[in-house]
Symmetry: C2
Subunit: 230 residues, 2 copies
């Protein structure tokens, strides 16, 4: 009886992590999918990946929003074309230029508002702390604090639970878990820079490729030829 399942809002970027997060959510919930673009370079490509993933899971309740304000606020190479995107590995302890200040708080606020209106019981976000990007708003501690704010700041009885099923996983574990759950990883997009063939060099591409390699799984998305040489 899938109809009887409670609803959960799942934040879905079109990337690999949120795709596996969705695969976790559908085991218990009927998903409502929320996609937010925020003026990042590859917004159109990520949106088309989102729509393909939503279609794969037959999700009809989709909300596509823009957080254009994050572009107006600036401060990140992801949303500011005049700043370069780092091409190397994340440096431990350093916040990369691609960090969009406090971005996940905006995404969570959107997810929680929608969950409250829908009467959903949970909000899923595919944040990854381990093996991650060094973004402050990807730490479990941030989600624990935000959960308390959700409890205090929503309607009495709303009971909305934040779920971060990937937070302690490495990229390789995420790939393996995705394969295990039958997640359509071939439909996802991770590159921060290119929209047709992944660059293979930005931090997001590097983390993805290493994850597939360590998991021993082939990555079916197209990469630019020069990516192979690196």
């Amino acid at each position: 009886m899938p109809q009887a399942r409670p609803v959960a809002v799942v934040l879905a970027s079109g990337g690999m992590d949120s795709c596996v997060c969705l695969a976790e959510a559908v085991r218990e919930f009927t998903p409502a999918l929320l996609h937010a673009s925020y003026g990042q370079r590859t917004a159109a490509r990520e949106l088309s990946a989102f729509q393909a993933i939503a279609a794969h899971y037959g999700v009809t309740r989709r909300l596509v929003t823009t957080l254009d304000n994050l572009r107006a606020i600036g401060g990140s190479s992801l949303t500011d074309a005049s700043r370069a995107v780092e091409q190397g590995w994340p440096v431990p302890g350093r916040v990369p230029s691609t960090y969009v200040p406090f971005r996940n708080a905006h995404l969570l606020a959107m997810g929680v508002s929608w969950a409250e209106v829908l009467g959903a019981r949970a909000v899923f976000i595919g944040a990854v702390e381990e093996d991650g990007s060094g973004y402050p708003d990807c730490r479990q501690e941030f989600y624990d604090c935000f959960q308390a704010a959700v409890r205090a700041g929503t309607r009495p009885g709303a009971g909305i639970e934040l779920r971060t099923p990937l937070i302690r996983l490495t990229k390789a574990q995420i790939v393996r878990r995705g394969v295990e759950l039958g997640a359509p990883l071939h439909l996802t997009w991770s590159c921060y820079v290119e929209e047709r063939q992944a660059c293979g060099r930005c931090e997001s591409c590097r983390l993805r490729r290493r994850g597939f390699a360590q998991a021993g799984v082939e990555d079916a998305i197209p990469y630019a030829p020069r990516a192979e040489a690196d």
Copy 2:
């Protein structure tokens, strides 16, 4: 040496509370003013009040944003023209139809992102718990939790402090404090329904009028004639 003062982001709706909040902020900080409309009925009137208040204080750093997503999400009579705005007093323990689910989390997220980019030390919001509207996201507890999320979810060393100087005040105390600080209350707009003459009957008008009456201060904004009969 006002130049040496640290910067604070002040959320300013154009209403009375945020105007007095700004009057508190300028005592310690150089303000950067953030206004967000979210598709509410009186958005244009509130924006013009915001600009007038900003001009009064000579604030040049202003960011006007829209949270149109809150309209897409719906669930409130403030952003959904098909739902009536209550005309009576707030009922203790009941969340009014004008509640925009988790709205203040969106405003705070915006304020904190901008503060992080500007290097600002504080974010001021004129939320009022006492004598207020019954909105869950106006409780001090919500701000305490959100403060913890800000600490965990921003760049190390950002040190952004949430300030809610009005949270424990009654409307009458806010009016008195505004007069004491020379806040331009005559430039503010509170009505949820009308843009030329305040209706005097919506919950926001009622709270405002009672506050001025209890403070023994004349309210210089125009009210519709029928408001006087009620």
